[in-house]
């Protein structure tokens, strides 16, 4: 098991906590969006589109869902820096 590094200073931790507050709000919003997207992916084709035997039914819905998920992930990772 890897050895533990020295503990972080108290001042640093206080600064970190105020910084992470805005992160937590952003994180909650992203979480809510992805949760809504996933729940929709499971439920919409089995409820609203259940009897729609056309290409614009579940087929189109799941494709749009995937494109939205991919765009969202591109945006989520956009601000990363070294």
């Amino acid at each position: 098991m890897a050895p533990r590094e020295p503990a972080l200073s108290a001042n640093f931790l206080v600064a970190m906590r105020s910084h992470t507050r805005s992160h937590k709000i952003k994180m909650a919003l992203w979480l809510a969006w992805f949760l809504a997207l996933e729940v929709a992916a499971f439920l919409v084709p089995y409820t609203l589109l259940r009897n729609v035997e056309r290409l614009w039914g579940a087929f189109l819905f799941w494709n749009v869902f995937a494109v939205l998920a991919i765009i969202s992930l591109f945006l989520l990772t956009r601000g990363w820096r070294e």
Partner: protein, 489 residues
């Protein structure tokens, strides 16, 4: 097809070895050098390798068959899986930073360190070995059956198993992750190009893209809705999709890849590249299955959709051989990655814990030595074709879900404890086995759903009544500080 098939297999073997040997150049002597390519892989190779590792022969055989049988539900299932990359986008930077900071080689080692428990490391590693060796042997069986079917018996089952084992073993052994990643990248391109060409010819055989869509709406409209022809009832869809949604966290051969990129931006390129590859490859697989439905409507068994389509007159024989190589590539690229990951887990998480004083060089020697042993076990299982192995392989995606709550908790919940992690892995792991062996689906829910529910409840409940590790606060503060510096949520 006989001679051309042998020539194609020989060319594929030769090219794969050439790539593996070339990638070996500059290989260092450390454990991370061999198993993690010294954490220096670039984004594009990583994206292709991640794609080839994730997508096995299942896509062109199993998923195409599922589309043939159940229709559009197969598309939803696979795209829900792809959207599960949100977990890699969220946990990927955490894994990457923690591994860089603390020198982790395997995901089980990371869990054990976070929970300050050797037992957690050991149990997570053993669970991975227990379920992934049978999964590997099923990949072998898939390759061997396919070769036998397409060659009309010219390549016997046993020869196919031996050949595929040899390649996976050799490519993992030659240069560790360097050779695996580069051969994976080569194979990912073979997978994409060959399957794309098959779909192109199949759709042309139907009369073009308009005729393809028109044919589906006119003759197979039930296949465009769920539950459609009946296979994709909601419980089936949920039971299939849920384990796969968590795949990037639950399966160590892919979660270990989050340790590997040379930088955070390389990790981002890897995730983005995989998303694009996965979306295209999924659409190709689904179109493949629907094309088989339109061209070959009366197959007695959906598993025959792919071999029959490849043998049909709309696919030129040369392309059928290339497509077969694409499917073999998908299987071998998954196998060699699993072999390498399991070997690293054996060396780092089992051997090193049982022999605490073992040097890194010794651990590496054991890790290299175990690759042929694990390959041999998979080979023997695939030769005997035991029911037990099939059940373990089928349950692997559901059973490995038990690692998810402890993994998520490691980074998000300071109160998570070692005892909580152990309970969340062991008890649901046994439950999944019982459900799978007994073919039981209480309340109509599949074993994977029960695995996730029971594992989460146990992790939370047991953690709340036990003490968290002393270093948990420090571990999380440090990772969160590094994440904030890099503007990662």
């Amino acid at each position: 097809m006989g001679l051309s098939l042998y020539l194609a297999l020989a060319a594929y073997t030769f090219l794969g070895f050439a790539v593996a040997w070339a990638a070996r150049k500059g290989l260092g002597r450390g454990l991370a050098d061999f198993f993690l390519a010294n954490r220096t892989l670039g984004g594009v190779v990583n994206a292709l390798s991640y794609s080839a590792t994730t997508y096995s022969a299942f896509m062109m055989v199993g998923l195409a068959g599922l589309t043939y049988r159940g229709g559009v539900g197969a598309l939803g299932f696979e795209l829900v899986y792809l959207s599960g990359l949100v977990l890699a986008a969220f946990f990927g930077p955490r894994f990457w930073l923690a591994a860089k900071l603390r020198g982790y080689v395997s995901p089980a080692e990371m869990l054990g360190d976070r929970y300050e428990s050797r037992a957690v490391t050991l149990v997570a590693a053993l669970a991975s070995l227990l379920f992934l060796i049978p999964y590997t042997s099923v990949q072998l069986m898939g390759i061997a059956y396919l070769l036998q079917e397409l060659s009309r018996g010219a390549v016997p089952y046993v020869a196919g198993v031996l050949w595929a084992t040899f390649l996976a073993l050799a490519w993992a052994r030659v240069g560790g992750l360097r050779s695996v990643a580069w051969t994976d990248a080569f194979q990912a391109l073979v997978m994409l190009v060959s399957s794309g060409l098959v779909v192109f010819f199949a759709v042309c055989g139907i009369g073009g893209i308009a005729a393809f869509f028109h044919g589906l709406e006119q003759n197979y409209s039930r296949w465009l809705a769920v539950p459609g022809p009946g296979f994709f009832q909601f419980s089936t869809f949920l039971g299939l999709s849920l384990p796969w949604f968590f795949f990037c966290l639950s399966n160590p051969q892919v979660s270990q890849r989050l340790f590997v990129p040379r930088s955070l931006l390389a990790l981002r390129r890897m995730l983005r590249g995989f998303l694009l590859f996965g979306f295209i490859y999924t659409l190709i697989s689904i179109t493949w299955g629907f094309s088989a439905r339109l061209l070959l409507p009366d197959l007695p068994n959906p598993d025959l959709a792919t071999p029959t389509l490849l043998a049909s007159p709309v696919i030129p024989p040369v392309l059928a051989i290339l497509a077969m190589l694409g499917i073999v590539s998908a299987a071998i690229s998954t196998m060699d990655s699993v072999l390498l990951t399991l070997s690293s887990m054996f060396a780092r998480d089992i051997y090193a814990l049982l022999r605490p004083g073992a040097s890194e060089a010794r651990q590496l020697a054991v890790g290299k030595w175990i690759i042929p042993v694990i390959s041999g076990a998979a080979l023997v299982f695939s030769l005997f074709r035991l029911d037990l192995i099939a059940v373990l392989a089928v349950s692997s995606s559901a059973a490995l879900l038990v690692l998810v709550p402890a993994t998520v908790g490691a980074f998000l919940w300071r109160r998570g404890t070692a005892k909580g992690a152990l309970a969340s892995i062991l008890v649901p792991g046994i439950l999944v086995m019982v459900l799978q062996f007994g073919n039981l689906k209480p309340l109509g829910l599949w074993p994977g759903v029960w695995a996730l529910i029971s594992s989460t409840l146990l992790f939370v409940a047991v953690s709340l009544v036990t003490s968290p590790p002393r270093g948990a606060e420090d571990f999380l503060d440090r990772i969160n500080a590094l994440l904030a510096e890099r503007n990662v949520l």
